[in-house]
Symmetry: C2
Subunit: 230 residues, 2 copies
Amino acid sequence: MAQKRSGQSISSRIPERTITRLSIYLRCVEELVADGMTAVSSQQLAERFGLNSAQVRKDLTYFGQFGVRGLGYYTVGLKQNLERILGLNQKWEVALVGLGNLGSALLNYRGFQQRGFRILVAFENDPRKVGHRVGRVAVYHVQKLVPILKRRRIKMAVIAVPAGAAQGVADRLVAAGVHAILNFAPTQLSVPKGVKVQNVDLSVMLKTLSFYVVRSARDPVSPSHRALKK
Amino acid sequence: MAQKRSGQSISSRIPERTITRLSIYLRCVEELVADGMTAVSSQQLAERFGLNSAQVRKDLTYFGQFGVRGLGYYTVGLKQNLERILGLNQKWEVALVGLGNLGSALLNYRGFQQRGFRILVAFENDPRKVGHRVGRVAVYHVQKLVPILKRRRIKMAVIAVPAGAAQGVADRLVAAGVHAILNFAPTQLSVPKGVKVQNVDLSVMLKTLSFYVVRSARDPVSPSHRALKK
DNA sequence: TAGATTGTTAATCGATTAACAATC
DNA sequence: TAGATTGTTAATCGATTAACAATC
């Protein structure tokens, strides 16, 4: 069951949700820094997201003691720490596999570049697309995936191929040494431990929404709940 | 603490994750039906996703008793039940707000249509885009949002506007009677109870991945974990 | 020093899983 | 009937929250 006391290896017991919240705290702290705030308390941070202040403090102390008792957290220092923890103090080179409908959209999506994530190679099956460039991104045949990613030491990839092809692509990515995969294919990928897959399953999300619409239709919001929240 | 015994109102205690898993079960059951399988056990279903068979059974019994002891679940019946529960036995009309980079991509994305979700109106701020059509989707000014959605009784919407504009859009959607929102804006929306927001925050996902790449770099996968899984 | 807020332990809550009687 | 698998209860596990001593 591994050590518990302070020496706790960071690789061990950190809940996935803590990591997700860390990114959210960072966004908030960035805004605070931009607004010229120098310090913020766990209570203030928590209020922004409807979280508990103890949770904010606990999330942060997984990685160190960043606060000052009686005062809170210095925004600039906290920002730097969060960036370091999340690995955002560096540029990331990302590979994209699949240039269909969704893949092309992602390639044009500026949101990736904003945070230092740069898609700089793409892979496709369709020979009509292979060999061209889209903007400054070169498009290669999927067969070239392993050698190219190995050579460039690319560790992050986005899968935007049909469900049926996704596992094969994932296997290649793993063979190429990729550590983290953003998977848009609506299928469960099987990868070795140590490789992180983040699924973005739009189809599942729509089905979930659909459930809640049906439910609201059946159980209308009770009057007491109407028009709360400013 | 509300009733517990069987009369349990469906609106009460169903974990959100159960709903997500329901959509996943459905996908699997669809494949099984297509393959001509007539029945499936909770064990078989669970194995496909690395879940626990008790969890599969528990998820399903929130909504009724669909199984046959000694046999499992009839695939066709289970499929129909899941579709009914998730509200997928009908077409959904969806509104899209924001026709920037991401919004346009979503409009072209065929994945939505596949499941009976049809984007049939879009809203924009930019007067150059308003008044045109994209395919068969009409583009209106955001100011028209409330009356148009009310008239058409649209209950689902996708937000693809910049973070700063998202809360304002959400308020309008709520005023128009929308019950479920798929939110791509990287911001926390505040909505009344009874309205479901599903966040798809690509930026948070990338930051999460980045964390795991950093971690793998520091704690390389132990040899014993290499190359497991089929 | 008095007031405030952290870091951390212990209590609580909710979700997952094991176990098994019911029953096909 | 014997074998299998459900539906469901009870045990386990993990994450959230309350509470408070430490300390700025």
